[in-house]
């Protein structure tokens, strides 16, 4: 799809500007594709123009935005600068963000773009749950060290990976101080997907390459929140635009600057000079007791926290 002529690109953009939609017959220009996967008709018809110049009506449910191609994915969504705010006071380790992200990105069960850590900054301080996506840094180490430009920073602040260029040297994984990146060690069945590859979707995964949280720019283009933000039952994750100064978790919307000011927002390990675009609100006035996050977890997940000082302490108390 990236081999398209520039003229094609331009004419397509003009199409979109005019509010017209390219037709189901214009798969080659990539704006819309008829998936035929959606069940049922919405009843809402959309007029589309086919390559042969005919106007035809197609049901809305049969159309989805085609994923952005590899070359276009370098550019970023015009006029945007994405930011995420994570409210630690509300997180109770429900792990819906992790699961929905895995589903959305067609990830195998043992690969997580979003991770939830049990954090305790020092012995006597309070523990808290710490969801960690990619920080989409403004000074990204991963981008600096990549020898082939397979990972890149876009105008809208998003750091993406082109899995069809990545050579799998894993230098970015050692460069990232936040352990954000994951490697596709094995070709997994879960990667398989009938959609064409797009760096904006990170789907389908490619064996022997690196992938990570992508801030879901494909959803942003449709005006939707990332999978993690819309999945969170507590509304922990806010997503928005730093230039428009607005963030939302789907139910509440805040002025970003006011939220950060009133709630003492901060960036994790900002001292490393990476300039992250993910902000945290400290876990004060919590909505849930911390321990609640340990309930009802899969055995595998519970095991992850076994060696943390907090859980070890808990066990010691029990045995006494």
């Amino acid at each position: 799809m990236e081999n398209k002529k520039k003229d094609d690109n331009n004419s397509r953009r003009n199409f979109l500007k005019l509010g017209l939609l390219a037709g189901a017959g214009t798969v080659a220009t990539g704006a819309l594709i008829a998936t035929g996967k959606n069940t049922g008709e919405s009843g809402e018809k959309i007029k589309v123009l086919t390559t042969s110049g005919e106007v035809m009506e197609v049901d809305k449910n049969f159309l989805t935005l085609a994923p952005v191609g590899r070359v276009e994915s370098h550019e970023g969504i015009p006029g945007r600068k994405f930011v995420m705010v994570i409210d630690l006071a509300k997180c109770k380790n429900a792990r819906k963000c992790v699961e929905e992200c895995q589903k959305g990105h067609n990830l195998p069960k043992d690969q997580e773009f979003m991770k939830v850590y049990l954090m305790q900054d020092s012995e006597k301080t309070a523990p808290y749950w710490f969801p960690k996506p990619c920080y989409h840094c403004d000074n990204p180490q991963c981008v600096s060290v990549c020898p082939v430009g397979a990972t890149y920073k876009r105008s809208d602040g998003i750091v993406l990976i082109d899995n069809e260029r990545c050579i799998g040297c894993k230098f970015c994984m050692t460069g990232c101080p936040y352990s954000t990146r994951v490697f596709s060690w094995k070709a997994e069945e879960a990667y398989e997907s009938d959609q064409p590859y797009s760096p904006e979707k990170s789907v389908p995964g490619v064996e022997g390459t690196v992938s990570k949280c992508d801030f879901c720019p494909d959803l942003a283009r449709e005006g939707k929140l990332p999978y993690c933000a819309s999945a969170c039952p507590m509304g922990v994750i806010y997503f928005g635009d730093i230039d428009e100064d607005v963030v939302t978790n789907g139910t509440e919307t805040f002025k970003f600057s006011e939220l950060i000011r009133d709630r003492s927002g901060y960036k994790y390990l900002d001292n490393l000079g990476t300039r992250p675009n993910v902000y945290y609100l400290p876990p004060v006035d919590r909505q849930f007791p911390f321990e609640r996050g340990l309930d009802g977890l899969d055995e595998e997940v519970t095991k992850r926290f076994e060696n943390t000082p907090y859980v070890k302490n808990l066990k010691n108390k029990e045995t006494l």
Partner: protein, 441 residues
């Protein structure tokens, strides 16, 4: 005695090495080929099944492949710095061992980069390094530096070989297959030893000796920067460049001494390679041991004394999980050469060789301890239920490839010694064997 006559005597002495291979030699070569094939099988296994067959996982993304890469690039220093520096200082005693040093350089330079390729997830996309190369990435620096180094070192070795190739071409008594004779003739590119040719050769060799030293320092610093430009607590260090350079030459001397020992035994070079050579290279090794110990000490002392949270975590792992390896690599690996070479009574060929062998092992471990524990102690705590993802341990695939690499090194070294005398014939003259240029009397 004329020059030709004296070198003909020497050629007669060295000819059997090139002319035939004994049963033991053949067994040795077969064994090495077997191990190399095992390595190739492991490579096939890894390529067909994916990197899941290695011990590397999302936390420890680099394992023994990178360690081997650093290690082989390190020993390539034996030739570059040792032969280059000794050439420039006109150390006459270097002559019988310089060829070995240069062979070590070339062979390890060819094997080293192979290991980094095994670490790459998509070998099929290797051309991307050239097609889409970004000069901002230290890996690109490495690609440029290593290819320059290989080219420079091959040139340096070739210049040194030229006179011997001409001698072999002109030596009629040599009983070798015709293809070998043809090879000598082509490679000697018409060198006959006219005064003009000699002068040109000397000039070029002098220039290349200086060049290979400079290039080798750059290559090894760039390699160190791959680690130190990242923010990882164990790697983000300003002394990594010089530290790696010193460690590299140090391991290079170790390999050179072991090579000297075996070639002396197998090819009966007792007359040419004497205790003097072991002691002299041993002294260089001793000086480097001191430097290496000093760098290691400064590196860990500052981390431990300052005990910044993440440094403290790394030191804790090093002294808990990796305690015995740490002692072996950074204590024993420094102290043994200091003691063995430092005390005259201990300074025997066998002892120095054992010390050199310990140095080789210690330096490999030193790199392992730089790479793996750092990746096991990232800024964010590792919270993993799968033990293999939290702690690295190499699998049979990685060990087979490592063994294959070592075997390939020995194999190429053996084969090279079957093509060209392992001692620079044209440089040796019949001279009193116990010349006075021994270090540390």
């Amino acid at each position: 005695m004329s020059d030709t006559a004296s070198s003909n005597i020497l050629l007669r002495e060295f000819a059997p090495q090139i002319e035939r291979t004994g049963t033991l030699g053949k067994l040795w070569i077969t064994f090495l080929i077997g191990v190399v094939l095992l390595g190739f099988f492991a490579l096939y296994w890894q390529v067909s099944r994916g990197h899941i067959v290695t011990g590397m996982r999302d936390n420890v993304v680099w394992g023994v492949y990178i360690v081997n890469f650093i290690f082989f690039m390190g020993i390539s220093y034996a030739g570059a710095l040792i032969s280059g520096a000794l050439h420039l200082f006109h150390a006459e005693w270097r002559k019988p061992i310089i060829r070995m040093a240069e062979f070590i350089t070339i062979i390890s330079l060819l094997i080293g980069p192979g290991f980094i390729m095994m670490c790459i997830g998509r070998l099929d996309r290797l051309p991307n390094l050239i097609l889409f190369g970004r000069i901002q990435s230290p890996i690109t620096w490495d690609v440029i530096a290593i290819s320059t180094d290989i080219f420079g070192c091959i040139l340096f070795l070739y210049l040194a070989l030229l006179r011997d190739l001409a001698k072999l071409r002109d030596f009629d008594e040599l009983k070798v297959p015709n293809w070998k004779k043809k090879m000598y003739k082509i490679l000697a590119i018409g060198y006959t030893g006219t005064p003009e040719q000699q002068l040109r050769l000397k000039k070029s060799t002098d220039i290349m000796a200086g060049m290979v030293i400079a290039i080798a320092i750059i290559v090894y610093s760039v390699l160190a920067w791959i680690f130190s430009v990242t923010l990882q607590p164990g790697w983000h260090s300003t002394i990594f460049g010089p530290y790696f350079v010193i460690a590299a030459v140090y391991s290079g001397t170790g390999v050179l001494i072991v090579a000297m020992y075996f070639f002396r035994k197998v090819y009966h070079l007792e007359e040419h390679i004497t205790l003097k050579h072991f002691v002299n290279i041993g002294v260089i090794m001793l000086v480097l041991a001191a430097f290496f110990g000093y760098f290691t000490f400064s590196e860990y002392l500052t981390k431990w004394y300052g005990s910044e949270k993440n440094d403290e975590q790394l030191i804790a792992i090093l002294f808990k999980d990796y305690y015995s390896l740490f002692i072996l690599s950074n204590y024993i690996g420094v102290l043994v050469p200091l003691i063995v070479v430092g005390f005259k009574k201990l300074r025997t060929i066998n002892n120095i060789t054992i010390a050199a062998f310990i140095v080789i092992i210690a330096l490999w471990l030193n790199r392992y301890l730089i790479v793996v524990p750092t990746l096991e102690s990232p800024y964010l705590p590792i919270q993993e239920s799968r033990d293999a993802w939290a702690h690295y341990s190499a699998t049979w695939v990685e060990w087979s490839l490592t063994a294959g690499g070592v075997a390939l090194f020995c194999l190429l070294f053996t084969l090279a010694s079957k093509m060209i005398p392992i001692v620079q014939v044209s440089d040796l003259k019949e001279e009193p064997k116990e010349a006075g240029d021994i270090y540390l009397r």
